[in-house]
């Protein structure tokens, strides 16, 4: 009868649930580090691969060209870029007055990022 009216929360099982904010915070930090790490690696790798002065180093590292095209590296990178960007946008938007639930925004962000990451894996698998 009163189903339309929302009850206050039941806060008697707080220690049994994951703290979403901590998950979000660590994901944001880790994805941020992944992106930074990728950029660093990418710059160094491209330098070695294409700058003639480093030809000798390139010869010593026959595995280098394939490193960046591992499917899991792509998946991880794309997941990280999507998650980190969307979460950053969420933070900015929330401070302009746009209200969104912290649970819904976290999990929809993770889902979307995972989809994009998954797409990379499938692309490499030829699907």
């Amino acid at each position: 009868m009163s189903q339309g009216l929302t009850l206050p929360r039941n806060t008697t099982q707080q220690a049994e649930k994951p703290l979403h904010g901590n998950i979000a915070r660590w994901l944001h930090r880790i994805t941020g580090m992944v992106i930074v790490l990728f950029v660093l690696v990418h710059v160094v790798a491209q330098t070695i691969l294409h700058v003639p002065a480093f030809a000798a180093v390139k010869a010593d590292m026959p595995w280098l060209p394939t490193v960046q095209s591992q499917h899991w590296v792509h998946a991880l990178l794309y997941f990280s870029i999507v998650f980190h960007t969307l979460y950053g946008l969420k933070l900015l938007a929330s401070e302009t007055g746009i209200r969104m639930g912290y649970r819904a925004s976290l999990w929809s962000n993770v889902a979307l990022s995972a989809l994009v990451g998954l797409r990379e894996v499938l692309r490499y698998a030829g699907i």
């Binding site: 806060t11 099982q13 707080q14 703290l19 979403h20 904010g21 901590n22 401070e95 007055g97 209200r99």
Partner: protein
């Protein structure tokens, strides 16, 4: 449902700064009703097993906020949190420990005193119902149901890592900022007390036992900081 029993293992942090070098854990077994709260477990231990346990509670129904502890790493009100088969019970962080599960709130109360969280009025009370929109009155009262239990401050990652007083203080400042009779610059106070350090992670919103959102209060302050808003002595509603 209401008469089932449960056997609980509780590891309680013991520490007497007067004679212990470091905190240690003592393990107790308690059997009681399945709907027991963590406080019921602690009281049972005091009454039957460890008469020298120092713990704090008063109202035991989630209103005074004085029983806050950490259970399995999460800050909660002991009287509200349901007991679990295995529990690690510790005092709130990052406050100094008076003994065992009780923390010293001197600094907290000092900070509250410093913030002057009473409306700074420039007009006398009219000796009749003071006009205020019903919706605003309700909003103010909701914010004023903050227990100052410090559960949010204990759980806040920014408090741990940055010079930030904590979510609860920001919520109280926001409450004053919204109060039509207050003329103090609460935004400046908030910034001075570390408001900008907030990670906007909403851990405080999740752990609050009074269903409040200190993070939302901070977001409102930030919006005000960026885009302007109601400032003291300027265009306040009557």
């Amino acid at each position: 449902m209401t008469v089932e029993k449960i056997a609980v293992t509780a590891e309680i942090q013991r520490f007497d700064p007067a004679c212990d070098k470091a905190p240690r854990f003592e393990t107790f077994q308690v059997t009681g009703l399945a709907n027991m709260r963590v406080l019921d477990v602690i009281r049972s231990i005091y009454e039957n097993q460890a008469g020298d346990l120092a713990y704090q509670f008063a109202c035991r129904i989630g209103r005074c906020g004085t029983c806050a502890v950490r259970v399995n790493g999460v800050s909660v009100l002991a009287c509200q949190e349901r007991c679990k088969p295995h529990m690690r019970i510790q005092p709130l962080k990052p406050f100094p420990v008076l003994r065992d599960l009780v923390v010293d709130r001197t600094e907290i109360e000092g900070r509250l005193e410093q913030l002057k969280l009473a409306p700074l009025r420039t007009t006398e009370h009219p000796s009749m119902p003071e006009p205020i929109a019903p919706k605003l009155a309700e909003e103010l009262c909701h914010m004023d149901s903050c227990l100052l239990c410090m559960v949010c401050v204990s759980a806040c990652p920014a408090v741990e890592e940055r010079p930030f007083d904590g979510p609860a203080f920001m919520l109280k400042l926001r409450h004053m900022a919204k109060h039509p009779q207050d003329t103090r610059n609460r935004l400046d106070q908030a910034v001075e007390h570390g408001m900008l350090e907030c990670f906007n992670c909403d851990v405080c919103t999740q752990v609050c036992p009074a269903d409040l959102s200190p993070a939302q209060a901070i977001r409102e302050f930030r919006k005000e900081l960026m885009f302007g808003g109601k400032r003291p002595l300027q265009g306040r509603p009557g």
